[in-house]
């Protein structure tokens, strides 16, 4: 099986600060990690490889330092890492990100399964995986909590509003993984060694035949701001009994 795992490097915390002058998120000084759900996707790929001989290719789009995320994924067990980096890709929305990922996956050529995390902890959109599946013209199964590979097809437990569905789809297919699908492993020492010796593949816009129109975001961030609290309410005064009585009166209305 040829498995492709798409990952994103994100800030380690969601408690970010905003530069009041520019309205941009301050990313300096905040360590980066592989997006948590993407680690679940990576782990799922390794689990499949333990059952069926497979090649795992991990790809990410990001600035040059996103290389760290690829090396960590290789340390976990990926066979190949591809970094998609170009100044043209900066500020991509989900539409343009999916264009870049699709171009890279078409260039890779043969694949049976694409695994992604459910959503990233920075943008929280969950849009890139379905948009990628659409670009490639393959089916998608989102919110997977269990994946089983059968001959030529997958059997997946997919979360629903009422519980979950068991669904089947032919390969190739794109699946997004919930965090409850597995527990991502830690890199081994051998894995870490491999990760730092491994040559990564680096593709820019030219390598992918991507033009400016392919990465011109369709959505535009007008401004960012911290959500405002509505302001402190009325403080009830008095003894415990008096306050309890006051609240009981409201509740009985």
């Amino acid at each position: 099986m040829n498995i492709i795992v798409c990952i994103k490097q994100v800030p380690k915390t969601t408690n970010v600060k905003i530069d009041l002058k520019t309205g941009r998120i301050i990313r300096e000084g905040i360590p980066s990690i592989i997006n948590p759900d993407d680690k679940n996707a990576m782990e799922e790929a390794i689990k499949i490889k333990e059952l069926i001989p497979s090649k795992i290719t991990v790809i990410t789009m990001g600035p040059p330092q996103a290389e760290e995320a690829l090396r960590e994924a290789i340390a976990m067990g990926a066979d190949e890492g591809i970094l998609l980096s170009d100044i043209m890709f900066a500020g991509s929305d989900s539409w343009s990100t999916s264009n870049v990922l699709a171009s890279a996956i078409k260039k890779i050529g043969a694949y049976d399964l694409i695994l992604c995390g459910r959503q990233a902890i920075d943008g929280d959109t969950a849009q890139v995986p379905p948009e990628l599946a659409e670009s490639l013209g393959i089916p998608q199964i989102t919110y997977a909590q269990k994946i089983e590979i059968l001959s030529g097809k997958v059997k997946v437990e997919k979360e629903t509003e009422e519980g979950y569905n068991i669904v089947e789809a032919p390969l190739p297919v794109l699946i997004t993984c919930n965090s409850n699908i597995n527990n991502p492993r830690y890199p081994t020492l051998i894995g870490l060694n491999n990760a730092f010796e491994k040559d990564l593949i680096r593709w820019n816009a030219k390598d992918l035949n991507i033009s400016k129109e392919d990465v011109e975001s369709l959505t535009y961030v007008k401004k960012t701001f911290k959500p405002a609290a509505k302001g402190k309410g009325t403080m009830l005064k008095g003894s415990m009994q008096e306050m309890a009585n006051e609240l009981a009166k409201i509740l009985k209305k």
């Binding site: 539409w95 948009e131 068991i166 007008k222």
Partner: protein
């Protein structure tokens, strides 16, 4: 100018909404700005005293679309919430609201949609559309979008909505904003979509200036439902489709709490300190006929089950009355309950963040306060 009134049964004395102060007992308060009016009216205790009358001719075309999500042939609550917001946007843009109903048999569902604000229902019927599937739903909705060119398409930010909307957006190459918590139109008539990011720590205003339709998924439980009595038009569509590539083998239902209908919700957090206090919370909830909610801390501690978690990774609720007990008020929780009609917070820390979101603040230790409250309620 619209005159609004704070109802006499409001438990507090005054209510401040984006700078406008409404005092209980006042005959009315004038609100000029339509956004401020929307915000004021989103509170259950604020009613219209006198509405300015306008007669506008509604333009044809350029419709606002709401994807009518159904489960087991019932319209999802989020669809009705979207219709409530669509009405506000449609009034500003002077256009019609259309629902896209994808189903095997439409039955009386168009009526439900008309009664909540739809002017038009596109009923796409086919036996293969009985259950949601990504590929078939994407195909039939995309075909219709291409034919009718709506200016806005709104979907509920449910599991299905967030599976479907990006697939449609990509096929027609338009922008999409996920999980919005506020929608408005600017002076140029462009949809301004407010979405939380970084686990609700940051809000972003996003537009799709060039491409049409402007597409959005909206977080369930955020917008208010408005009843309406429209005499709408049904447009029937019989699509030509083959079976879905993804086959549903089995559907499994698990127990999930539904707090949607709760008038009152009482929620506990880390300040419960123990399961005995969580039991007291249960007792109060049964005395009041209230639903039980929890912050993540109380779930992680094992006092309240995960399906009752309110906030960013759980449910979004808007009961008439919300009582937060021993909840610190982290943004991840507040985002799930801030649209409640009246919020009471009990916390032993007078500087607790939750008091910034509350209408009534009670500084007390729950181990003493909850028993005191129970005895008063039983009187």
């Amino acid at each position: 100018m619209t005159k609004v009134k704070l109802q006499d049964n409001y438990p507090g004395f005054s209510l401040t909404i984006s700078g406008v102060v409404l005092n209980k007992g006042d005959d009315f308060t004038d609100i000029d700005d339509s956004t401020e009016l929307d915000r004021a009216l989103s509170n259950d205790y604020v009613v219209i005293y006198e509405k300015k009358e306008e007669t506008k001719e509604i333009k044809e075309g350029n419709e606002i679309w709401v994807y009518a999500e159904t489960h087991n042939a019932i319209i999802s609550k989020v669809t009705l919430e979207l219709l409530g917001k669509a009405q506000i946007l449609a009034d500003k843009l002077n256009v019609k609201i259309a629902c896209v109903l994808v189903c095997d048999k439409k039955e009386n569902l168009p009526e439900v949609l008309f009664n909540h604000g739809a002017d038009i229902v596109y009923a796409i019927e086919h036996p293969l559309l009985k259950k949601y599937s990504t590929d078939l739903y994407t195909k039939v909705i995309t075909d219709l979008i291409k034919k009718q060119s709506p200016q806005i398409v709104m979907c509920g930010g449910t599991l299905n909505g967030r599976d479907l909307a990006p697939r449609i957006a990509k096929r027609i190459n338009t922008g999409l904003t996920a999980d919005c918590t506020e929608l408005d139109v600017d002076e140029d008539g462009i949809l301004v979509q407010t979405k939380p990011a970084f686990g609700d720590n940051v809000m972003a205003e996003i537009t799709c200036p060039v491409k049409r339709p402007q597409m959005t998924t909206v977080r369930p439980g955020v917008f208010k439902i408005h009843k309406n009595t429209k005499k709408g038009k049904i447009i029937n569509i019989r699509p030509d489709i083959k079976g879905s590539i993804v086959k549903i083998i089995e559907e499994i239902k698990t127990d999930r709490t539904n707090l949607d209908g709760s008038e009152i919700i009482i929620a506990g957090g880390r300040g419960l300190c123990n399961s005995a206090n969580a039991k007291l919370l249960e007792e109060i909830s049964s005395l009041l006929g209230a639903g039980i909610g929890a912050s993540r801390a109380a779930v992680d501690a094992g006092w309240i089950t995960k399906d009752k978690q309110i906030g960013q990774t759980g449910l979004t609720v808007q009961p008439r009355l919300y009582i937060a007990c021993g909840i610190s008020g982290a943004i991840q929780h507040v985002t799930g309950m801030q649209n409640s009609g009246f919020i009471v917070a009990v916390n032993k820390d007078p500087n607790a963040l939750i008091f910034q979101s509350a209408d009534y603040c009670i500084v007390a230790d729950l181990s003493q306060f909850l028993p005191a409250l129970i005895s008063k309620l039983k009187k």
